[in-house]
């Protein structure tokens, strides 16, 4: 999720909106920080600050060290900050090591898992998925409501929507939500569970983070807008398949699988076009 902060890389803004550029770079970190502070101070979502702090510090230190040594310059710090804070919010474990390892693996993946100059995975999506898959006995994911009060949920949805709209990625969030709702009918029909139960997960904070910070990551999505929407639709579709097979962390695994696959396909098509021309 860190590359989400590199909104400037999505292309120059119109002249009349240049003033937005600097602000926009800080919006995602501000959004996720405000989500964390509000959720914890109101509802105590974190068992302790030390685990989230460990994830942030690890991500920050890894990013600084790897970026500096690899490229000879200091990388953009907000990216690591978002990775660390996301790991700190999303993971649930009585132990400290999953937070540290997950944050490190997330950052390191950007420097290791590269193809033709691009990294393929949303870093925290990959890190979280790996830790969940490899340490199921000791790690789980944030999977509960924050307080079950309507107002904070509405505020986060509105604030998140406004911010992704300002950075020009709202259509991705919207595509995912519509796809999820569509597929929830399918799941309800196939499994026989009440439709509201099938929809229930999207009302939780885990999905808020997923929708606003992961599926909108510009560095690991394909270029054309229609293709981006198609990729997000496929993420929801793979999630449907996984959910029908009772995979609890379906959205994370789906993005982990579909995102890089789409990028590789795009790179292959680009190379093919290059050879033909």
């Amino acid at each position: 999720m860190p590359e989400w902060t590199g909104v400037a890389a999505a292309g120059p803004l119109p002249k009349g909106r240049q003033w937005l550029r600097l602000d926009n770079r800080f919006l995602p970190p501000l959004l996720i920080t405000s989500i964390l502070l509000t959720a914890h101070l109101s509802f105590g979502i974190l068992e302790g600050w030390e685990r989230t702090a460990a994830a942030i510090v690890t991500a920050f230190a890894a990013e600084m060290a790897l970026g500096r040594i690899t490229y000879g310059k200091w990388p953009y710090a907000a990216s690591a900050y978002i990775t660390g804070i996301s790991v700190g919010i999303l993971l649930r474990s009585p132990f400290l090591w999953p937070y540290i390892l997950c944050a490190f693996i997330s950052i390191a993946s950007k420097y290791v898992l590269r193809f033709r100059g691009r990294h393929l995975w949303n870093p925290s999506n990959l890190g979280v998925s790996l830790v969940l898959f490899l340490a199921p006995e000791t790690v789980s994911l944030l999977s509960v409501q924050w307080g079950n009060v309507v107002a904070p949920m509405v505020v986060i949805w509105l604030l998140g929507s406004v911010i992704v709209w300002r950075v020009g990625r709202f259509y991705l969030s919207a595509t995912y939500v519509v796809s999820f709702l569509l597929f929830s009918f399918v799941r309800a029909a196939v499994t026989g569970i009440p439709w509201v139960a099938a929809v229930a997960p999207i009302t939780g904070p885990m999905y808020q983070l997923f929708i606003f910070f992961m599926v909108t990551d510009p560095k690991v999505t394909v270029r054309p807008m229609w293709a981006q929407c198609l990729v997000v639709f496929f993420v929801a579709f793979v999630e449907l398949i996984l959910r029908l097979n009772e995979v609890v962390y379906a959205p994370f695994y789906a993005l982990c699988f579909v995102g890089p696959s789409a990028l590789l396909v795009e790179m292959w098509l680009d190379a093919r076009r290059g050879r033909m021309s």
Binding site: T70, V112, E137
Partner: protein, 607 residues
């Protein structure tokens, strides 16, 4: 000439070769990091590997003897309104309990088991003193307490509320609580109506405590479901918790002050207890050194509560400031133990851990050293007692008489279809907003699936220096029933703690304990005079071999359970006890110098 900044910039440029080398290094570190995940995961789960030789390695061995001891009880779960049929195993998942007392004062520990189906009978097992037990519940009038329309039993707790020397019995229910007066060990009389107990409480826990130290036991009953819910005749299906971790729509609590004339008055609100959380377990002890008992609530669907007793006049919830009530989990157990032999009572709260879905981890709240701020640290992960599956009742007790308190935990929620799990569907509904999760109709049908079923129990042996080792399979605690309550008692007067387990919709188990020879012990049975006669709330410090172990006389402990009131302290190789210091609930102190070991001491509060 190159100026400084330009040279500095140049020096920072990294060549392609350097980048390649760096990438190789990062790749190695990345792979190492990924490889470390399963390794650390396995290390975290480390248990004693051997299935044999428990007695030799850990100093004790358990053998299940219920049938041969004459205990043939099988718990029956309740059946509620058909509107809950699709999730019945969940909503009817409690009711198996065990409460130990020597009700007839013959010197042998007896125990009471609750049943929960309509018109089912509870059992009172009288200890014959020869290793066998006889059910005398019908004969003594405490069996037929689950009649249709009156609710069904969820647990029981003994306490001598009228100080006549015989332990009386409170049965708490999803229904009207019942108080049975013990008529000299020869029978029981239902005095509920006269006592002024509430008409209906959907309770999963209750305890006796002397709130104001007036020498009379008061009563605390904690509601789980809201009081206006009749689970047999639902007016609405919107009865479920409004949140998986922030629910505040549970049952009210009742603090009933003993007026001394056989009646009780409701002082709950007046004393500042306003909780509406979904309480599953309560335990009371003097946790702050004030001389007055505080009350710890283990709450399902939310944070714990710790009500600090303000001189017997009022309670204040200090869970947030002390740290024990900051993180919401699924609390199901409350037990206290001096695990470091330093006089600090740790609080063990059981929660849920299900691999791949939900890893809350159990909590072991230990007062910070120094204790000045009254804050607690959760040492469960570092001591290795955090992962216990879907955990229910737990008890501290020195199972191997080595001088440190061990921990016995039962677990398992619903054991049904062995190859199917309800967890995925639960994970879907649990995250839903209150408007979804709060309505039972929205909960997916369980369709005979298991829900954290068939779980291995946990027996953690305390090495006394900061580590617990899980030894259940090695020492013979090998059942996989849906455990709810566990109680520890010396059933054979042999100087060892045996184990009684109440299983939901399953058989009661009695584990006979055999401890390696050469380990000493001392037992103390207290009788209050100025204090309540059961001595509930008394603190006992036993000093031996250069250490001092604290144990308190408690009523309820664990989940729906009560241990023997007798204090049992293992001494290890120490062949002498230096001193026993007793702080009675009245505040009086008593010291026994060099009491004999390997025997029971009956101690009466001095005038």
């Amino acid at each position: 000439m190159v100026v400084g900044p330009r040279r500095s910039l140049a020096s920072l440029m990294v060549s392609d070769r350097q980048q390649r080398v760096a990438r190789v290094v990062w790749t190695v570190l990345f792979v190492a990091g990924v490889a470390a995940i399963p390794v650390l995961n396995r290390q975290t789960l480390a248990t004693a590997p051997s299935a044999e030789g428990g007695a030799a390695r850990f100093g004790f061995h358990l053998r299940e003897v219920a049938r041969e001891a004459g205990v043939d009880f099988v718990h029956q779960a309740p059946t509620f309104d058909p509107q809950l049929g699709h999730i019945m195993p969940q909503v009817a998942s409690t009711g198996a309990s065990v409460a130990v007392a020597d009700f007839d004062r013959d010197g042998w520990q007896d125990f009471y088991l609750t049943n929960s189906a309509d018109n089912s009978h509870n059992r009172l097992y009288r200890n014959n003193g020869d290793g066998r037990f006889t059910d005398v519940a019908v004969q003594l009038g405490v069996a037929d307490v689950n009649r249709t329309g009156t609710g069904v039993s969820m647990g029981a707790v003994w306490g001598d509320y009228d100080n006549d020397g015989y332990e009386d019995l409170l049965v708490y229910k999803y229904g009207g609580p019942l108080l049975f007066h013990n008529d000299g060990g020869a029978g029981f009389t239902d005095v509920s109506a006269r006592a002024g107990l509430p008409a209906w409480v959907n309770a999963n826990s209750a305890t006796w405590l002397d709130v104001d130290r007036d020498g009379r036991l008061d009563l605390f009953i904690a509601g789980y479901w809201a009081d206006d819910v009749n689970l047999w005749r639902l007016e609405t299906t919107r009865i479920m918790p409004e949140s998986f971790e922030y629910a505040n729509n549970g049952g009210r609590k009742y603090l009933l002050r003993n007026k001394g004339d056989g009646t009780f008055e409701d002082v709950t609100t007046a004393m500042g207890i306003t909780s509406r959380r979904w309480t599953l377990a309560v335990a009371a002890a003097d946790l702050r050194g004030t001389g007055y008992p505080d009350i710890f609530f283990a709450n399902d669907y939310g944070v714990s509560e710790l009500y600090a007793n303000q001189g017997g006049k009022r309670f204040v919830d200090i869970a947030e400031t002390t740290g024990v009530g900051r993180t919401p989990k699924s609390g199901m157990n409350a037990s206290f133990g001096d695990i470091f032999n330093d006089g600090r009572l740790a609080i063990y709260k059981a929660n849920i851990s299900e691999p791949g879905v939900l890893v809350q981890g159990n909590d072991l709240w230990v007062p910070k050293e120094g204790g000045g701020e009254g804050e607690y640290d959760n040492l469960a992960p570092s001591l290795g007692v955090d992962l216990g599956g879907w955990s229910w009742g737990a008890q501290f007790g020195d199972l191997n008489n080595d001088g440190t308190l061990d921990l016995y935990l039962v677990n398992g929620y619903v054991s049904a279809g062995e190859r199917s799990s309800y967890w995925y569907d639960f994970s879907v509904i649990a995250v839903g907003h209150s408007s979804i999760i709060g309505d039972a109709r929205n909960w997916p049908d369980m369709r005979g699936r298991s829900f954290s079923g068939y779980q291995r129990k946990r027996v953690w042996v305390n090495d006394g220096v900061g580590r617990f080792t899980e030894v259940a399979q090695s020492v013979g605690a090998s059942d996989t029933n849906d455990g709810r309550a566990v109680a520890l008692a010396d059933l054979g007067n042999r100087g060892v703690l045996d184990v009684i387990v109440a299983n939901q919709a399953g058989p009661a188990l009695v584990y006979r304990n055999t401890v390696t020879s050469g380990r000493h012990w001392i037992d103390l049975e207290l009788e209050g005079t100025a204090s309540n006669r059961s001595a509930i709330g008394a603190r006992v410090d036993v000093t031996f071999g250069g250490r001092t172990q604290r144990q308190d006389v408690l009523a309820a402990s664990g989940f729906s359970a009560q241990n023997q009131r007798r204090v049992h302290v293992g001494l290890g190789a120490a062949a002498a006890v230096d001193r026993v210091r007793i702080v009675w609930p009245s505040g009086r102190e008593q010291v026994l110098e060099r009491p004999a070991v390997d025997q029971l001491h009956r101690v009466k509060e001095p005038a």
